[in-house]
């Protein structure tokens, strides 16, 4: 089902996850440090560029390639995987809508992992209602002046390339939104304190604060007024990546539960021989496989150049993240008291799984998107 190159990508990501990430996952979860040594390995191994075009230093693959990496890394640690996936997300506006100059300037460094990226949309009052953003970008000569605060930005403070959605024409509301590239170090750009989270603790989450932040006009992505379209297209394209992250979390939790069930002896036999446990494992395995199949098939749909993938990518994200949550809870259940202890790895999968139902659009919003698209399709018939 995978091409030779995709198999190579997956196997290398799996090897790095197993040999380099798994041994340090608990450490980074505990300390909440950003796993720079791992980012260096991912960069040197060319993984950041799997889905970027060859002319910009990438390997010419598609979203499925990016999903394969995200899944394998998440199987070992979803928090560390987010350094990779968040960069993928942050780079998408440039990849999808950037000019030739912008692609040439930013994508090669991203492909090499020399600079990480971040996507800045969410604000305190604009979560599910992304159209309610208040950050503004005022044009002054050959510059834009950005003001406002972006919240819960993945990779903030660590990344060097930020794609930011801001209102260049407040009067037009969300139709007046534009997308900008802001480089770390820009005058007037600051970071808030690092958030303390339930899970994905190895991932850095901060506010990005713009106070009269000057950005060259050349950093406008696409045209003024295209910001919301850029943002939505970016999220539609990246959602299979969240699905892949969820599949990786689910698979990782299942791996642990399955290993444990074969070695844990109660009543004189391994607990895997009890039908109650066996059936749980069977359900978990089936659900993971179903989620993976959906995630891959939607990633392929994206890669086929399909015009609209909103419904399908929402479905993949919804189904895979609900699966991750359920499978992680069940993995803890199978491991009983051991599952609940922080000295064992599965409780982390349960904490990590939860975010996948929340970010890049809550699963309630995904259902809205899916239903709205289904109804629209009936009307079109």
């Amino acid at each position: 089902m995978l091409t030779e190159q995709q198999t190579m990508v997956r196997d290398l990501a799996r090897k790095i996850a197993r040999e380099k990430i798994k041994p340090v996952a608990a450490h980074y979860d505990e300390t909440e440090e950003f796993a720079w040594p791992i980012m260096k390995i991912l960069g040197d191994s060319d993984l950041f560029g799997v889905h970027l075009p060859e002319q910009y230093g990438g390997l010419g693959g598609g979203i499925l390639d990016m999903c394969l990496v995200t899944e394998e890394l998440s199987r070992a640690c979803a928090g560390i995987a987010l350094g990779f996936a968040g960069t993928g997300l942050g780079a998408l506006p440039i990849l999808l809508h950037g000019s030739e100059e912008q692609k040439k300037k930013y994508l090669p460094d991203i492909a090499k992992g020399k600079r990480l990226a971040a996507f800045c949309l969410t604000e305190a009052e604009a979560g599910s209602d992304a159209g309610a953003i208040k950050t503004t970008a005022r044009k002054e000569g050959d510059k834009y002046i950005i003001n406002g605060t972006k919240q819960w930005i993945t990779n903030a403070g660590e990344a060097e390339i930020y794609t930011v959605i801001a209102l260049s024409d407040k009067a037009k509301g969300i139709r007046g939104a534009s997308a900008f590239i802001v480089e770390k170090g820009a005058k007037g750009m600051d970071f808030g304190k690092k958030e303390k989270k339930m899970g994905i603790r190895a991932s850095a989450t901060r506010e990005v604060i713009f106070t009269d932040c000057e950005v060259p006009a050349a950093n406008l992505i696409s045209r003024e007024g295209m910001g919301f379209i850029v943002a939505m297209k970016t999220l539609d394209t990246s959602r299979p990546g969240v699905a892949a992250q969820a599949v990786g979390i689910a698979q990782g939790a299942l791996d642990h539960a399955l290993d444990y069930s074969r070695t844990r002896v109660q009543f004189g036999q391994p607990i895997s021989s009890f039908q109650a446990v066996g059936h749980m494992l069977a359900d978990m395995g089936t659900q993971v496989e179903a989620a993976r199949a959906l995630a891959y098939s939607v990633a392929r749909l994206v890669d086929s150049g399909a015009k609209s993938v909103s419904k399908e990518s929402a479905m993949a994200k919804l189904f895979a993240s609900d699966t991750a949550m359920k499978v992680a809870v069940d993995a803890v259940q199978i491991m009983g008291g051991y599952g609940y202890m922080r000295d064992y790895p599965v409780e982390k999968y349960m904490r990590d799984a939860k975010i996948t139902q929340i970010y890049e659009g809550t699963n309630q919003i995904q259902r809205n998107v899916i239903a709205a698209n289904m109804i629209k399709e009936t009307l079109q018939k």
């Binding site: 190159q5 290398l12 090897k15 790095i16 390995i41 040197d44 191994s45 060319d46 390997l59």
Partner: protein, 260 residues
Amino acid sequence: MNIIVCIKQVPNTTDVRIDPVTNTLIRDGVESVINPFDAYAIEEAVRLKERLGGKVTVLTMGPPQAENALKEAIGLGCDKAVLVSDRKFAGSDTWATSYTLACAIKKLEGFDIILCGKQASDGDTAQVGPGISTHLDIPQVTYVKKISEIDDKAARVERMTEEGYDIVETPLPCLLTVVKEINTPRMPSLKGMMRAKSAKIAKWTADDIEADPAALGLDGSPTRVVKIFTPEPRKGGEMLSGSASDVAKELVELLKEAVL
């Protein structure tokens, strides 16, 4: 700097099994990998190249499938690979192997340094590296854990000993065998793997390296393997129970009986 790395393809040690009847390694279905110690030699060679410029040639003697190990080495940053392969090499001991590799090295266009892993994980002899330097009549330093200084004339290295390390200076060209303390091998890169896939591996026979036929393979090997066997597994110990003083007395008596 011209760097040569000699590597060996070995069975993955995590799943080595011995045939109880023939007492030999079961190789069927066992994944082959680059000898783990050689991975450190490859990494050190690539780091030297990155620091000083030049090129890295990776060399192995082995069956045709050893080409995979060479391709992997190219994926890790080696520039050129040579597989020395011929039925005439079958049955080579460490003397004949090091002779063969030395002949191949003479056919390469010169070198400043040769790196080898300290030993192979299957044979564990640690003799082939030193053997090559002997055949080539160049200095050798074994168990190197650090190359502290190096230029095109000489190298200063740290050689691991049981108590600590020696600082050794050697003129170039020389041969070093390295231990795992020397570096942390990098992960392969996708671009490296792509390069490896399309890389051309030179294949040399006994004739190509102009080796003396009498010095090759089983005939050229002074070593005779009389018997290979798996040592008897250690029998389980005996547990003594009772009060500490009783157990101590009983233990003393048992040790006396055993006449250690």
